[in-house]
């Protein structure tokens, strides 16, 4: 019955961190903008910050309980913490860093994290990915009951990031531990975590699988955070059982969601295709606007068309010979268009 149970309240600078969560043997990601209180949650679990009220338990072992007056010291909590910049001790070798945790079999740990060949190296000589492996090895060497990861990928450059992300995923998959990670990047959370909670100003807005958050964001913030396009408008019942939404700029789009009144229309950039002519299909939404920018990312191109973003293949951009400033039609299915109520 390995699980981390947490229910805390703590005043931060401009808002109160107030949340409850349970992490089983899974990877649980807290995502949110910087300053949302994500790191403070990890620090309360590790005992580096004391909540004002609440309870934190690990496998039923109470780490903190304000009513019972329990507050265990960080060194007694059996918590593995990988800090944002890894916090490796610069005056110690990789081996000494891992041995500092007092684990029994340092060579085996070094072997497992593929850092045995770096045993004598100082942290200053390592690459970002290697530092992360050392940070993980050190945090796990003591066989903790929970692993905490603070922005595990933010210290890396974009080149190494994708590789390290895949590597981290496979390490986390083989751990039989509750893992709580925080990140400001929804893509990282989606790639690493079994469940994702969106934390904004100290409160969790929605919890679910990354796919569930993308499919049914409960809130405009969650929708925008997952990377969706958001256009505001007013919803009315339309033809063929669809909902008709008149956007602020006068364009009309349709959704299969049933809703009335002020709404935000949410759809993902990869659902949008670009054409020169308006297609004759009522199941398709189309918005006519000029291209304001186009950025190539690998084999895709992110195109800004008026207020929305489309992601299309490089090949289709070349075929259509699209240029900035050109008037195009962005189309996306009514079935891929989510409506989120607006307060």
């Amino acid at each position: 019955m390995d699980s981390l149970d947490l229910d805390i309240s703590l005043a931060l600078r401009s808002f109160r961190l107030e949340l409850a969560l349970t992490v089983g043997r899974e990877t649980y990601a807290l995502v949110g903008p910087s300053g949302a209180g994500k790191t403070s949650v990890l620090r309360t679990v590790a005992g580096l910050v004391r909540p004002e009220r609440g309870r934190i338990a690990l496998d039923g072992r109470v780490l903190f309980d304000s009513t019972a007056g329990i507050d265990r010291q960080p060194e007694d909590r059996r918590v593995g913490f990988v800090f944002q910049e890894y916090a490796l001790f610069p005056h110690m070798s990789v081996e000494q860093n891992v041995a500092y945790a007092g684990g029994t079999n340092v060579p085996e740990v070094l072997e497992r994290f593929r850092i045995a060949h770096l045993a004598k190296a100082r942290p200053g000589e390592l690459s970002g990915g290697e530092r992360q492996r050392v940070g993980l090895a050190r945090a796990l060497a003591r066989k903790p009951d929970v692993l905490l990861l603070d922005e595990p990928l933010s210290a890396l450059d974009t080149h190494t990031r994708a590789n390290v992300r895949a590597e981290l995923r496979s390490i986390l998959d083989h751990l039989d531990l509750p893992v709580l990670l925080v990140t400001h990047d929804f893509q990282d959370a989606a790639a690493l975590a079994d469940r994702v909670a969106v934390l904004v100003e100290g409160r969790i807005l929605q919890v679910g699988t990354a796919a569930a958050l993308i499919a049914a964001p409960s809130d405009v913030f969650v929708a925008s955070f997952t990377g969706a396009n958001l256009l505001s408008g007013r919803a009315l019942p339309g033809p063929d059982g669809l909902t008709q939404v008149t956007l602020a700029d006068g364009n009309v789009v349709y959704s299969v969601d049933e809703m009335r009144g002020p709404v935000d229309v949410a759809f993902y950039p990869w659902e949008v295709s670009i054409a020169r002519e308006t297609p004759d299909d009522s199941a398709l939404n189309h918005v006519r606007a000029p291209i304001t920018s186009a950025v190539q990312i690998g084999n895709r191109v992110r195109i800004q068309v008026g207020a929305l973003v489309a992601e299309v293949t490089t090949a289709s951009v070349e075929r259509l010979e699209l240029e900035e400033g050109e008037l195009v039609v962005a189309t996306f299915k009514a079935a891929a268009t989510r409506l989120v109520p607006r307060a």
Binding site: E75, F83, A87, P90
Partner: protein
Amino acid sequence: MIRRRLFGIGLLVATGLALGFLLLPLVAIFLRVPPGDLVAQLGSDVAVDAIVVTLKTTLIAQALILVVGTPAAYFIASRSFRGRPFVITLVELPLVLPPAVAGIALLAAFGRLGLLGGTFDALGVSVSFTQTAVVLAVAYVASPFYIRLAIASFEALDSSLIDASRTLGAGPARTFLRIALPLAAKGLAAGAALSFARGIGEFGATIMFAGSLQGVTQTVSLAIYAQLDLDFDVALALGALLVLVSAAILLLVKLIPAWTRSTSTSASPFARFGSS
């Protein structure tokens, strides 16, 4: 064009004057008497006694400063408590206090008729005009040099390293010994060197509180003053010795930051000398 050249010449002359003024007296010490004679004078009873007293008292004072000052500086640097700026100001006060004031203050506190004099008397201990008094005077004026730099060095530590140590199972004491102390070592060494230099040159507080008894409380600085009328060459020889020691310490302090290359893994700097 001419004006620009004049300005350049002006800068050069000012620099030359400043350097000449600062160096001339030091050079004069070495030029007045042949080097061989200087070394010979250091063998005189007065000089040997003074050097022994100075070494003994300064080393004891320095040990006290390190043993008490280091944990105190760590405490001040790592806690936020009410009145912290006040505490730091108190620590720095002896830096700007005239040495004569420090001397009279020490007499008022530890002298026979001072605040704690009665207590010491009852214990059969007399502090003033003993070697203990020299140690106290040196520690009093020199410790702020060390503590100030020690606080700055500990403050500059990356706090996530301290946090990491705790989550890895080390208590506060082990964290202090294995993480904070080695990482702040450069700054601590620089502070120790500066306070050592200040301690060796101590004059005003010592002469008031400890007097100038040859072989007991007469340090090198005090011996220079005492020998001024008796044997100018001995005074010069001792002066030359202090010039060399001071220069060596200064050089040491300048070299300390370059001793080890930076191996920081985090954005924040640590133990950088003079980062207060």
